[in-house]
């Protein structure tokens, strides 16, 4: 059992305990963050391993290309999503246009020319003053009777 003496007491005995923070270094070997899918590769190779420069360059290019491919994949999916919405919008417009055309083909425009001409002619005497009361009063009663009978026949 260890003897306890004053000398053995550490100078740091009354100090509060300090916790040394150990920063975990998650290093990205390229210093660049990629959103794309990165292919797994052993990036923590020690320098002691005798890997030639050509092999390291290969690994590097492989990772870069994978990142680029991942980004392109995401980009293409976004583009395809937008394209799909555009295509569906176009299809809807086309459908509406088709429906309108079908309706237009089924609609029959009919103008009653007889009624129209009757209305026009009925307006004409008012311009000439034939049916103005002041003019009608000057006519004989028998004529007014015939006119009234004719008008009542049209009601």
């Amino acid at each position: 059992m260890e003897k306890l003496s004053i000398n053995n007491i550490s100078k740091n005995f009354f100090r509060t305990t300090t916790v040394k923070k150990v920063d975990k270094n998650h290093t990205n070997p390229f210093g660049v963050s990629f959103k794309g899918n990165v292919l797994t590769a052993d990036v923590f190779e020690t320098k002691n391993n005798n890997v030639n420069l050509i092999e390291r360059a290969k690994n590097k290019s492989r990772m870069l290309s994978s990142a680029v491919v991942g980004s392109i994949t995401n980009l293409s999916s976004a583009i395809s999503t937008r394209l799909n919405s555009v295509v569906s919008f176009g299809n809807r417009i086309r459908q509406n246009a088709t429906d309108f055309w079908t309706k237009a083909q089924q609609t029959e425009i009919h103008i009653d020319m007889a009624k129209l001409s009757n209305k026009i002619t009925s307006k004409m005497p008012s311009f000439t003053g034939t049916y103005k009361v002041s003019n009608l009063v000057k006519r004989p009663v028998s004529e007014l009777e015939e006119m009234l009978k004719a008008e009542l026949a049209t009601i």
Partner: protein
């Protein structure tokens, strides 16, 4: 009345000085099956305001104040009440009340006369 021509002709007959205009209005207008035409005709006859024209709307069964259509009868009574000179109308109403053979016509004339005396 939608037909302006009919309106104009009836109004012209109302203003016409020929006594035959009353006969035309009675013959054509009061016998028309259209309520609006009958109403306009009664109005034209009251506008004339003479014994013959008022007799048509007061003493004739089924015409004027005795019309089967309530709207036509009420419209005719209203026109009579609005007359400025009611003397001729009251005279015709009294004759109808005293001398007409139909009880219903007599009763109607009595009621309208009472209304006119109050107006």
């Amino acid at each position: 009345m939608e037909n302006k021509r009919v309106n104009s002709i009836i109004e012209a007959l109302a203003k016409h000085e020929d006594v035959q205009s009353v006969n035309v209005l009675e013959r054509v207008g009061t016998n028309c099956e259209n309520d609006d035409v009958r109403r306009l005709t009664a109005k034209a006859l009251i506008k004339k305001n003479n014994q013959d024209s008022l007799a048509v709307v007061i003493s004739s069964k089924g015409k004027g104040i005795n019309d089967l259509s309530t709207s036509v009868a009420m419209s005719t009574i209203n026109e009579l009440l609005q007359l400025k000179d009611k003397e001729e109308a009251i005279s015709v109403l009294e004759n109808t009340e005293n001398n007409h053979e139909d009880d219903e016509v007599r009763e109607t004339a009595r009621s309208v006369k009472a209304l006119m005396s109050f107006s």
